[in-house]
Structure formats: C-alpha cells, structure tokens
Symmetry: C2
Subunit: 505 residues, 2 copies
C-alpha cells in the first residue's frame, strides 16, 4: 500500500537505488576480484533465495560468524530485504559466549566458515560465508526480490554488546534507525560515489559503524579486508586507491607502525578510545585526516562526532590534538546530546563538572532483545544512560572522562583514568597505556598503570611516574607502572580493563 508522500525508511532502499543508478560501477572488491552494483544486487537476491529455500521467514533471525568477506555484506541486504533479522556475531568469541548469544537469539540459520564453525552451538543449520562452497550456493539459488519492509520500525538486527562488562545483551536496531543513522554518516563523512572504503573495521560491529549501508547508499566501493592485517591493508590502500577507513586507535597504531606505511590522503574515523596527541601527529604526517567518533552499540555505533571547524585549522598541533581528543557533538540526525547529573539536570558547560552522557532519538536502540528488565534499567527517564562520564565544554562539545565504573575514587577525589592514560601516551616511549583502580587500605583506591612500549623504545617505571608528576596533580600519579607486550582486548580493539583488574587483583 502506497501512501502519497510517504515511503518506509529502510537501508534496503540504498541498494535498490544503487543497483538502478550505478549498475555498472564496482560495488565490492575482494581478493583481487570485483562485482558491480548490478552483480552485487543479483548476488544479494540469490542469497535471499537461499534464505527463503531454507525456510527463513520474516522475523526469523539469521546469524553470521564471519570475517569481512562479501558474503557478510550480502547477508545484511538479503536478510533485511526479506524481513529477516540479522545477528552479526563477533568471530573472536568462544563457545560459551556463542552459546549465550544463540540461546538468546535462536537463529534459524548461521553463515560461518572454518575455523569458526568449530565453536558454534549445534542449534542452527550452518551455511558457508565465503569461498567455493558459498559461490556454489549462490550459483544454484533462484533469485528472490528484496524490498524495504512496509513498517519502518521492523526489527533489522540484533547486535550483541562486545562484553567489556559481562553477559552480552542483544541490542535491537530498526530499519528506520539504520536508514537515518546512515544518512548522518554520509553527511558527516562527506561520502560520495568516488570513495573507496577499506574494511579495517569489523563488519559485525554495529553494521561496521553503518558503513555497510552508507558506502552502498552513495554508490561507492567496498574494499573487503577479512581481518585488519596491516600489510594487507597497506597493499590495498595502494592498489585500490583507498580514500576512507575506520578503526579503533589500536588498529590505526598497527597501520602507522608498518613498514609499508606511506603518505596518502585518507579520511580516517576512529573511536572506541580517544586518539592520543602522539598518534594524531603520526597520522597527520602520513596525510590522514582523523575524525574522532563516539557511540555505543546501543546508539547504532558512533552517534557523536568531534566535528572539525575550519577556524581550528590554524591552531598549533598540540591544541588541535587536544580538540580532536574530545568526543564532540551529536550528529545531524541525532537528538541533542546531554551530560546530566543525578537529577537529570544538565551539568554546566564549564569543561569541569562531571555528569553522565545520556542520549535518545532515532539512532538509539529500541531496547534489548527479550530483556525488558535491562531495557528499563538503561532507559530511566526516557533517556538511554550510557554509563559514560563526561564534561561539557563551553562550545557544546562533550569530552569523556571515564566509564562510570572506570573512574577511580581515591581519598574522596575522583581520578580520571583517561587523563592519566593521555599523559602517559604523551611520553615518546609509550605506545599504549591502560589505568585501573586497585584497592588501597588508606585511600580506598589508587591508580595502577599498564603500558606497552613503542618498538625499540625503553623506559623505566620511576621515570614514567616522574613524567606524569610533572604534568598532572600528584595524587593522580599511578602507584605502580607495569610493562606489557600487549593488552587483553575486545574484538574491536578496546582494552578489557576488567581482565586487567582480575590480573591485578
């Protein structure tokens, strides 16, 4: 039924349009081969045929435990275009976590390759996600037309939180939310049909920060990269003329330090942790323009952007870096971003008063799958509570100070672990730093730092403590500084502080 002046919002429409107007342009490249938008859409409709033949109906869940291969892109459109619900799963998870996710979402079908099939629960039929078997599946399938659902609030996907804090929760996205969020990404990233997007970010993570939809919306090119291997990434950057990529700082650090690193202007989006001044300087030297994003799985990925203002171009590098470390402002398609106290009053815009970041609007989840209690708990007062503590600067830009649970309370003083980490990474020898609170009889808690060194660099704990003492308040100087070769991480590269706490405790 068509109403005058109305059509349901769905990211499926992006592929329908690009098939229509960019039919002969390259849509996806992978392992030296490429497909056009006409071919991409054809493959999607064949995969939709496979789903239909296997009995997948509207509302059924279809999971994927897959790397950044074309099959995972195709599944997003095939499932969405059939009214099925995508469950993109982190391929680094183990059998226990997968068991919980499958028990919760009850997928009718799962796409997975070796070695990820090994650890799958035996509760769903398994199809290949890539390779000869997958190609055969498509070749023998009959096409089923994809379409946007009539109800734009139809469930599009369930995205399990990556588990920095405990049991995964299933974050629900709607077609409307993903569509609007993607338009925001197109606008903020200035994406156009000439863009070449390199898949250094996992596709399973919030639909690859919506780039699964946004790149398709503008008829640009998806350059697949199964895993963020720096050598493969640099080879593709050179051969495909990559113009855009995303990644957590740890992924960018991997790229920056590689022997194939070379100058090239690239629009780089980073999030998950604030980029450090040292890292930004190295990015600039390569010609990258780095934009800092912030969001959560519950907000369709990045919903906040450190939107650059042309008047800042002429500031000295250190000032620009400290501006870029701020999380920033709500994107165009988001509701206003607030930092509130416990009475839900906005904190003053003074860059000092600490409050919780709360969000609402079209690109905030409608709730957790089959978990009304968690949904109610997260949405007090109608706002989604992020659990992130931040200050609001006078210019309206937000800067995170800590996860509520990562703040250290020492002798009644709040200590921001982020502040100490930023100070440590300003030291030329330090690659990354993670600070946690450890129990202290006298002070309640005291900071303890873990650091990794840059290749070939040396430092000792005392010198690092002195370095921090010279720069920030004495009570913030970590009692201990421990050296590591790497950190425990989530699939997206975030440092898992709860593991460090367990180790330290």
């Amino acid at each position: 039924m068509t109403e005058r002046g109305w059509a349901s919002l769905s990211p499926v429409r992006f592929l329908l349009r690009s098939r229509d107007v960019f039919a002969d342009r390259v849509a996806v490249t992978h392992a030296g081969a490429s497909v056009t938008y006409a071919e991409f859409a054809d493959r999607v409709e064949r995969l939709a045929g496979v789903l239909s033949e296997r009995g997948v109906r509207a509302g059924d869940r279809v999971a994927a435990v897959a790397e950044n291969v074309p099959g995972l892109l195709e599944l997003h459109y095939a499932a969405a275009g059939s009214g099925a619900v995508i469950v993109p799963v982190n391929f680094r998870l183990g059998p226990t976590e997968l068991g919980l996710i499958f028990a919760d979402s009850e997928p009718a079908l799962v796409l997975a390759d070796e070695p990820y099939r090994e650890v799958l629960p035996g509760t769903a039929e398994v199809l290949p996600a890539s390779g000869g078997e997958y190609e055969q599946l498509l070749a023998s399938a009959s096409r089923r037309a994809i379409a946007a659902p009539e109800d734009e609030m139809t469930l599009l996907s369930i995205n399990y939180t990556s588990g920095t804090t405990g049991k995964p929760k299933g974050v629900m996205y709607t077609h409307r939310g993903a569509y609007l969020h993607s338009l925001g990404v197109v606008g903020e990233a200035r994406l156009g049909n000439e863009a070449r997007y390199l898949w250094t970010l996992p596709m399973f993570h919030c639909h690859g920060w919506a780039f699964i939809w946004a790149v398709t919306a503008v008829g640009a090119r998806h350059v697949c990269l199964p895993r963020p291997d720096p050598r493969a990434a640099w080879e593709l950057i050179a051969s495909e003329g990559v113009s855009h990529l995303c990644g957590a700082p740890t992924v960018l650090i991997g790229l920056l330090g590689h022997e194939l690193a070379h100058q090239r202007p690239i629009e780089v989006f980073t999030g998950g942790a604030a980029p450090t001044p040292a890292m930004l300087e190295r990015c600039e030297a390569l010609g990258w323009n780095v934009t800092h994003l912030y969001g959560l799985t519950e907000t369709y990925g990045p919903q906040v952007i450190c939107e650059w203002r042309s008047e800042w171009d002429k500031l000295p590098a250190s000032r620009r870096a400290s501006i870029k470390a701020r999380q920033g402002v709500a994107t165009m398609v988001s509701e206003l971003l607030r930092v509130v106290d416990e009475e839900m009053a906005d904190v003053p815009r003074d860059g000092e008063a600490l409050g919780e970041v709360v969000m609402r609007g079209n690109n905030v989840t409608v709730g957790y799958y089959r978990d009304d209690e968690a949904t109610r708990a997260a949405f007090t007062d109608g706002w989604f509570h992020t659990g992130d503590l931040a200050v609001m600067h006078p210019d309206g830009y937000v800067e995170l100070r800590d996860r509520a649970k990562d703040i250290i309370v020492s002798g009644g003083e709040n200590i921001s672990t982020i502040e100490i980490e930023a100070t440590l990474t300003a030291h030329p020898a330090i690659e990354e730093a993670a600070v946690i609170g450890i129990a202290d009889e006298r002070w309640g808690e005291r900071p303890c730092a873990f650091v990794t060194l840059r290749p070939g660099a040396e430092a000792d704990a005392e010198a690092l403590r002195d370095f921090v003492r010279e720069r920030i308040a004495g009570f913030k100087v970590p009692d201990r500084v421990e050296f590591r070769t790497d950190f425990p991480r989530t699939a997206t590269g975030k440092i898992q502080k709860f593991v460090l706490r367990d180790e330290a405790g």
Copy 2:
C-alpha cells in the same frame, strides 16, 4: 511523549542542534551585519513569540511576501517550530494571483515590506519582514520556545506553484518530507560547516530548494542577497568567500556576463532548465563546478540530480557538457525514478523511447491544499505524474525532452523544443532561446524560435536557421526565428512559454 529509539523528523531539529553545537558561529549575514547561531535561534524564538501574541495557533497559515532577507529565514523556523504552516509567496506576483493564494490559504498573518504591501489583499494582518520595524518587533517580543511537532506528518508549508501553466495550486509539504529531503541535499551537495551559501535563489521557492534547512543543518553560513542582482552577488562572493550557490540558468547567465565576474571555485546547482554546453564552458572557466538538478514544486524542489561520476572527469568538454545536460538520477532519499508509458510500464533504457517522468516517496507532496480533485488527477496509480516527457539512458540517467504540453507535433512527428533550444544556444551569438509550437494549416504545428543575443553579438534569422539545419533534422528547423531583448519569466527565471504563445498566437 517519547518512544524509545524514535523521534519525529522535522527540520526544526536542525536549528535546535546548530544552536547547541555551533552557538558562536556565524549563521546569517545580511547587509554587512551578521548573527551567530545562538542569536539566530533567539530571533526565531522572538518571532515565534510575535506569532503567538498575534493569536497564531498550530495549523494556522502564516504567509510571507518577501525578498531573501533574514526575516524570511526566521519565519520558516518560527512558524515550523510553532506548528504553524508557512505560505512562502513569490514577491513578483500581482494582486490577482495574490488574491487567489490568500483566498485559498487564508493566512492569519503575513510578513511583507514595501512595495509588496501595496498589492496584498486586505484579509490578513501585515507585519514587516525586514528593516527597523521588524527589528523593533523582535526586540519587544517575548521568546516562545520552538520545537519539532510530535507528528512528523504535520503540515509544514503550502507552496503555490509558480504558474507556468495557469491557476496556482497549493503544494503541501510535511515536516518529515522536508527533513529527509534536506538530508539528501546535505549529502549530494557535500555541505559542511565551512560552507558559505549565497542566496541567489529565491527563498520562497520550495524553501530555497531546501537550502533554508540544509545550510542550517550543517551549521554553515547563510549569505543573504535580497534579489539576484549580479553586482551585489559578485561583491558578496568576494567579501564572504562564497562556496555554494543555486540558480536557474538565466540567473547564472546574469552572473557570468557581469564585469565583476572573477575566478573562484564554487559549487553551483542549477535547475529549471538544462544548462547549455556554452554556459557550462563559461562556468568551468570561472572555476565553478556545476551540478544540474531537476524537480518540481510537488517534489520539494530538486529530487533528481545529474550525479557526477569520477570516471567522466577525463571526457572531452563537449561530452561532459552533454552528460551534465541530463537531469540524472533520483537522490539518495528519493524513491526510484521512473519513465513510463501510458500503461505505467517502464520505457526501455535506450535513450530514445519517450515516456512520462513519475515519482513517489517521502519527498513528493502529500497533495494539493483543499483540492482533492487536482490531487487525484496528479496521483494516478499512486505515482505523481510530472507531465514531463523524458528518455531513460542505458546508465539509468533520465533526460527530459519536454513538458508534455511543450512538445510540438508536426506532421505526426514529435519535435522536442528543448533539442532545438540547445542547438540554438550552441551558436556563439545566442544567449538564450525559447521555442514554441504555432498552429500550421498543413503540418498541424510548426516550431517558432525566440532568441536573445549575447552582449555585442549579431546574427540574422536565416543564418540561425542554417545553423540549426546543419545540426539536426530538417523538419525541426524553426519556421521563424524572432529576436527579443528579454523573455517573460516566472519568479525563478523560467521562461513563460504560455506568454510567448499568446504573443505569437
């Protein structure tokens, strides 16, 4: 009432966000003065207070008969943010047309300055739109908070068609439609906060092709220009560092030919008529990047874009010009564009078969105000029928051949007036051309051409007919070529062929 993961779509949100995150940036400049986004929002809320004090309630109409002054920008947000309905009226209309529009829309209030007040019907209270009186009005008003309506299908505005064909009809826009259309403009125009948008297009025309909303959405700068005077435009281009502007080809021709014209990279959007190769060449020489748009008042303005592909960059100028003369493809936020035959079947994509352009979706009007009959007539089969005849090229790009009523049928052959016009303007002496059909006893109709000459150029009718004969089929050569100094035009610069027909008939 707030639903989780949902917020009503409304362009009012763009100003609320820019007030929040771009408070101290310049929003609007006019006559050497400027206001920031904080000040702009404050003025809007004062104007909303004025409306409220004057008894304007949700659903009431508020008209404006005004040039491109800040007051007209402000009225859009004040009315929309109060739930009132904007009726932006072409200030070039006479008392008869204004009488029809006021009788149809029954505005509670109208903003107008001299000399436009002279011709207003006496049915509504008149307030100033600019100047000292307007400033006084704002200064003495109390602020009324603006907000997005809860129902995104709320009527936002009534836009009277500019009357190339007869009695004005009131085209209704919704908050949802304008919001989505604006996001499309942001994406397609690559608008960012550094943009300086010059108001060479009338604001009253389809909300200035949605730039009233889009420029605000990204926190860019509105550079007001009351009327498209070429000298004033060039002075502002230089002093304000203008980066974007829109205008019908006739407006661009006015700029191109001015003595102050100088090199400067500007993103230029044109529509209403296809840009000619000769004009495009002159634009390129100035450093302009011209994008051709197409749409109607019924489609929120331009809904179709001749989206440029990077692979076309290296084509010769003449080929690029002929590509740019095509109307193009539906924008990202539009439903698929169709060219259909009388049975609503898509015409073949061969660049030859003629069909009617039909559209539907979020950025198509919900109908004509108080005119169900006209609405039904325009929306046969659920699609809006544009009345424009076009071909579909193999690459999915649409190219208009004619308005259904502008096609000339001569001896059973269809003759495209656009084709003859494009041929004539390729002649170095010709500035603009308009071709109409005149009754002919033998052939039914025959083409008759009206032309204006470029400054200082000379040509005679016979030589021009020969010029056409060498390039297109003999039966398309106009029987008559008449010289004029200017054309009768609509407010947006479209040539009013019905006036030419009356004169010729």
